[in-house]
């Protein structure tokens, strides 16, 4: 028997019992839609979180920090390896590493025209910036020819305050509270574009706690501004690590003896960080999965490694459980729909016993009858699944629309981007459709076998 003929016959048989077929199909529609919609809620949560995390840092960057190492539960398990050039070389040789740069952090005050503010300078290997996913919104990257060039985070300008206001406050309140003034006075943010091309003078350490008694040590030229979305790096400025080391030395020379003595000096233990050790090392992995693997490998190698992917995994674990629960709830309705299909098909066999008998008498093979009934059941699954997936998209659209209005605000990424309540990726739609067909097919197995086993003589003898 031709397969196409079987399908046509199956379709006609279904259409014969319109009412019942529609009701059964409706069950599959609702079952499919509830699974898809439930899963879409969980997927939307994961997706929102992933986007959020991406905003806070690149998911494929692993940071190796100096200092204590911690286990999974956050308990300290001893000091990490010191972060020196040996460590950089070791990490660079590890599998899955795309780019590495040590980072040397030094904070100080800068002055630009009449504004003044604290800046966190991070010295890195400028040649690795692009590979480490530093994206620029304006300007250019640092070249080897540059002298004291820096690239600033998007919000570095937010820390700048008007120096005249500072002076006025100093005059009225006296020196005693001078240290507080820096935090009390209101910042006067400077747009990043305004800073581009400007020189920032790094100031010496104020003498005797008088914040006004400073002198410029070195001029830093702003050659680039980082992307607005890179929030993790928004308040930092980046420069060449070698230059920063020199700047730091220069700065320390200007410090008062009292300030200098505050720095502990212990070089006996080789595992103790030396004064020239790096604060952290940035490592870029090829992708998120690799970042997670690399982060684990670094931890095993004795480093205090951390990546956004670690946190993402925790969140994913949570949402996975939630997805399973949501999917389970949806699954129950599809299971009920499956019982509906089986019931419809069994009923249909009772009704059509004689017909099955006739078909067998006039030469239908066992397989023909079985395939016919399986086709009918799968068709219910196919039609119900298709409509169900369609319905899911409608529900998903409405929920996203309504959801947004209820929350009444744009997504965390600002206007352009929306918070998602429900997300149906193509794979979910395809999987749901396949699942619905499979449910139909499986529900049809028992009825189809029953139909195929009917003895023709008994079947045609049945009276109605």
């Amino acid at each position: 028997m031709n397969k196409w003929d079987i399908l046509k016959l199956a379709y006609r048989n279904l259409w014969r019992r319109k009412g019942r077929t529609i009701l059964t199909t409706l069950g599959v529609v609702i079952g499919t839609a509830s699974i898809v919609v439930m899963l879409s809620l969980g997927l939307a949560i994961t997706e929102n979180q992933r986007k959020n995390m991406e905003r806070w840092g690149n998911l494929n960057i692993v940071r190796v920090m100096a200092g204590m190492r911690f286990d999974d539960k956050g308990q300290p398990i001893g000091a990490g390896k010191p972060l020196n050039d040996e460590a950089v070389a070791e990490i660079r040789s590890m599998q899955g590493v795309v780019a590495v740069s040590p980072a040397y952090v030094f904070g100080g005050e800068v002055r630009m025209e009449r504004k003044r503010g604290y800046i966190q300078l991070v010295g890195i290997d400028p040649s690795q910036m692009q590979a480490l996913e530093f994206k620029l919104s304006q300007g250019r990257y640092i070249t080897p020819e540059d002298k004291n060039a820096i690239i600033i985070g998007y919000r570095v300008g937010n820390n700048l305050r008007d120096e005249r206001e500072l002076r006025r406050m100093m005059a009225s309140k006296g020196r005693a509270i001078s240290t507080k003034i820096m935090s009390v006075s209101r910042p006067q943010p400077v747009e990043p574009a305004e800073l581009l091309g400007k020189r920032l003078s790094l100031l010496s350490s104020p003498s005797e706690g008088n914040p006004m008694d400073v002198r410029p040590l070195v001029n830093l030229e702003v050659v680039g501004v980082l992307d607005e979305k890179d929030m993790q790096r928004a308040y930092e400025a980046y420069c060449s690590i070698d230059e920063l080391k020199q700047i730091k030395k220069m700065f320390e020379k200007t410090m008062q003896p009292a300030q200098k003595s505050g720095i502990p000096r212990q070089r006996n233990d080789p595992n103790q960080p030396g004064p020239d050790d790096y604060q952290y090392i940035m490592v870029r992995a090829s992708d998120v999965g690799e970042a997670k693997r690399l982060s684990d490998a670094l931890k095993r190698a004795g480093y205090n490694a951390w990546s956004m992917a670690d946190s993402l995994e925790g969140i994913e674990k949570q949402t996975r459980t939630m997805r399973a629960i949501l999917g389970g709830i949806g699954g129950i309705s599809l299971f009920v729909a499956a019982l509906g299909i089986a019931n419809t098909m069994v009923m249909s066999i009772y009704e059509r016993t004689r017909e099955i008998g006739i078909m067998k008498v006039i030469g239908a093979a066992v397989a023909d009858i079985r395939i016919l009934f399986l086709s009918e059941a799968s068709l219910i699954g196919l039609i119900g699944g298709t409509l169900g997936v369609g319905l899911s998209y409608v529900i998903s659209y409405v929920m996203n629309d309504l959801g947004l209005r209820f929350i009444g605000m744009p997504g965390p990424a600002g206007p352009g981007e929306k918070i998602m309540v429900s997300l149906i990726p193509p794979w979910l739609a395809i999987a749901a459709l396949g699942f619905a067909i499979a449910v139909g097919l499986i529900s049809g197995v028992y009825p189809a076998n029953r139909a195929a086993r009917l003895r023709p003589v008994k079947a045609i003898r049945m009276d109605y």
Binding site: M1, I358, V361, D368
Partner: protein
């Protein structure tokens, strides 16, 4: 037709027993029967004489408790269900008292159904079914469903369906049982004419002597046994 001298069906001590509650009913008892080729053979008997069971055994629709059916040299008892189905598709046609048409299908589709199971393409199926229905005077009823046809018309559709695959043997079980005497006569005349013209063998079960009068041979059956030899 090949081996035209040989009988088309032969049975050897064909027996069918049923268990009916505590009782064992012998529906067909040691029947030795020969059906000659190209003839119209009638099996006559009262209700419960075992004639329908015998027909089912001859057609391979039921399996004997004992004995054998030799159909064109094939032992039907030795066949699997699927082999039997293929065999029926090729060599047999069936006509029933209650017509047994499929209600959802048109007259044309009902007639073409055996060809569908035989894997004949749709175009050819339709062509052959249409030709046969026209020949049976139903050319204007091709698209009608069984429920839109009279009893006589339905039985004619059933006859067309039985003949569509050029079977060696057409089995008919009380084909006029549900028809009035006028229509019965029409149907019987049509059926006998067709089987003679087309060279089929017709095996019919009936309790109606008028119908039996069309046959070349009549076997009388009572209590599962053939009374007049075989």
């Amino acid at each position: 037709m090949e081996n035209s001298g040989k009988p088309v069906i032969q049975t050897r001590s064909l027996t069918k027993k049923y268990r009916l509650g505590q009782e064992i009913v012998v529906a067909v008892n040691e029947v030795n029967l020969t059906i000659p080729r190209g003839k119209f053979v009638c099996i006559m008997g009262v209700s419960g004489s075992g004639k329908s069971t015998l027909l089912h055994l001859l057609a391979g629709l039921d399996r004997p408790t004992k004995g054998e059916v030799d159909f064109e040299g094939y032992n039907l008892s030795a066949m699997s269900e699927n082999q039997m189905a293929a065999f029926r598709r090729k060599y047999m046609g069936f006509i029933f008292q209650t017509y047994n048409l499929i209600p959802a299908l048109s007259a044309l589709e009902n007639v073409a159904l055996p060809l569908l199971f035989a894997g004949v393409p749709q175009k050819e199926r339709d062509k052959r079914a249409r030709e046969l229905l026209v020949q049976l005077g139903l050319g204007d009823r091709l698209k009608n469903r069984p429920s839109q046809l009279s009893g006589g018309q339905q039985q004619r559709v059933a006859i067309a369906r039985a003949l569509i695959n050029h079977p060696r043997v057409v089995f008919a079980d009380e084909p006029t049982g549900n028809l009035d005497s006028h229509t019965s006569k029409e149907v019987m005349e049509l059926l006998t004419r067709l089987v003679y013209e087309r060279g089929h063998t017709l095996v019919m079960v009936t309790h109606d002597p008028n119908v039996a009068s069309y046959a070349d041979f009549v076997f009388h059956m009572r209590d599962g046994q053939i009374l007049n030899g075989g």
